[in-house]
Subunit: 333 residues, 2 copies
């Protein structure tokens, strides 16, 4: 009997197989615009001339409160960011909580407060929800699902990279995954690593106003490695990344080395990877750097004809950046 294992939840290659064979086996999979078949960050549904974007994410992160954020902040930002990845301004969110019997109400209050603060930053509202309670032992604490709708004039796909495009990262990579991992292990590195969990619509809006954005993806589970491979593969191009231009915090790099983890393989929760028209790249970069949460943005590579993702290493070599098979950090979001 084939069963689900933890790798199926990692957003990598093993998940992709389950997704393709089982989870997307719907004949009713498209409501007129961009549907499930695109496997993009969200779907687009044209309604009376408006492009409504719809997306969802569940959150099961442990610990519930971690340096730089908590499950509530992730639940709001995660969904708002998937909307932003489609080029959409987040408008309204749902909040569905599944709670274990015995969960402390003051914790719940803290989570709701954090969600509300994140909503304020996103400019979105929670307009409807649901609550289920499971008997003690049937769920570890709490799981929060949010779904969201946004609106966009021009949807941005993850498959829109073109040869000649420039790749931008809106900031440092690996922060969320390493923050969770080090918090969980009680790891003392001298310096605390903070999650980057934050809404990125402001970055996206400024970038789109400054020039042509061809493709976007938020590097969540599976990290930068997974996101950039998906973008390259879906676009039918090769992406070349310059190792020395990749922004990674010193603390994140040291912790990664100690833990034997690649910071490019772990989740980020407040970053965008963009492919933009080369002519507009400097202006877009400047616009992102002016944005809240965009100060560390960098041009990290470029697009050519071909396939796969290549790292041009600091010492002049080349190697593949592969999508991770599983996730080195389970329950990261």
């Amino acid at each position: 009997m084939k069963t689900i294992d933890l790798m199926h939840g990692a957003g990598g290659a093993i998940f992709a197989e389950l997704l393709g064979k089982t989870l997307t086996a719907y004949t009713h999979n498209n409501a007129g615009g961009i549907g499930l078949e695109a496997l993009d960050d969200g779907a687009v549904i044209p309604i009376n001339g408006s492009n409504i974007v719809l997306t969802t994410d569940s959150h099961v992160v442990r610990p519930l409160f971690f340096p730089g954020g908590d499950i509530g902040r992730i639940a709001v930002c995660g969904t708002a960011n998937d909307l932003a990845m489609m080029g959409a301004k987040p408008i309204a969110l749902t909040c569905a909580m599944i709670i274990e019997e015995g969960f402390e109400i003051p914790q719940l209050e803290r989570i709701v407060k954090s969600m509300d603060e994140a909503l304020g930053e996103c400019g979105a509202s929670i307009v409807t929800g649901d609550t289920k309670v499971l008997e003690r032992g049937a769920l570890d604490g709490i799981a929060i699902n949010t779904a969201g709708i946004g609106i966009t004039e021009k949807p941005v796909r993850d498959c829109g990279l073109k040869p000649g495009d420039v790749i931008i990262s809106s900031g440092t990579l690996g922060d969320h995954g390493l923050a969770i991992l080090t918090a969980r292990e009680g790891f003392d590195l001298g310096e605390q690593i903070h999650s980057d969990v934050a809404p990125v619509w402001n970055i996206v809006e400024n970038a789109m106003a400054a020039g042509d954005v061809h493709a976007m993806k938020d590097p969540t589970r599976g990290g930068f490695s997974n996101a950039i491979n998906e973008m390259a593969e879906k676009s039918g191009v090769q992406v070349r990344i310059r190792e020395e231009d990749l922004p990674v915090r010193r603390s994140v790099a040291s912790a990664s080395e100690l833990l034997g983890i690649n910071p490019l393989d772990v989740a980020n929760e407040g970053k965008v990877i963009m492919g933009v028209a080369a002519n507009d790249a400097e202006e877009i970069l400047a616009a992102i750097r002016r944005s809240k949460y965009g100060q560390d943005a960098a041009i990290i590579g470029y697009v050519v004809e071909g396939s796969s993702v290549i790292m041009e290493t600091s010492i002049g070599g080349e190697r593949f950046i592969e999508p991770p098979i599983g996730d080195p950090v389970p329950r990261v979001c």
Copy 2:
């Protein structure tokens, strides 16, 4: 320390307190139309002249497969029906699954297939989703959240009852709750009770075309008793129900008696309770009866000035119909 208990998940009075004090404590709770403050079956968001309706429900029902349905069918119908309760045609759904390590993939395939069939009946599509996997022991099997959007010309509220209105039930009451309970207990009643889980948009569409529908609610957790009390209270009216006109299957009535349960207090998953203009009541009733899943519809009461819900009993007496405090059937949906 105040903690969550199972009563908080029952959709009754204890849940209402948690909801009011903690779960809806957002300052960002409305995106322009009908927001969280209304606590209706869904929210309405006006976008460029269209009324977009948004709603969500998580599903944790046990057993996963039960007489008349399964968790997949409920997950699709539950959300489609909350859209219909707002007067909205279901258009697109999200599907977010949280799965326990070790869950059997063939079961997952069966669930997806059932969801697809229900989508076909609803005329809606699943356009985006999410999957999280929890380590063994962190979740009992699977939980499925769906969120959905629909569109309506004229939103219908749950608070729109007016004195003089007639109350219609689209069919028999108590079927789902008793099906789950008897299936779970391995209860042999000679006759199998089947869940009523089904999409009701067709009923709603036909009813709205036949006359003035003032208020609607699907009597899910907390059953008819909870739904009708919410409608009466929010509308500021008294509702009077005639016991002898309430449609309850014989098998459901007998099982209820044996189990000491009120069939009006348990969940239905394919029913609508409507308040309609008296002049249109017969035409609306006929339109519902012509609809798939509407054959057993009945006029069950009427609205007067005042407050609370009164049962006019078969023997000529009167008593209150109270909203249940908790749910006699946990994990019913």
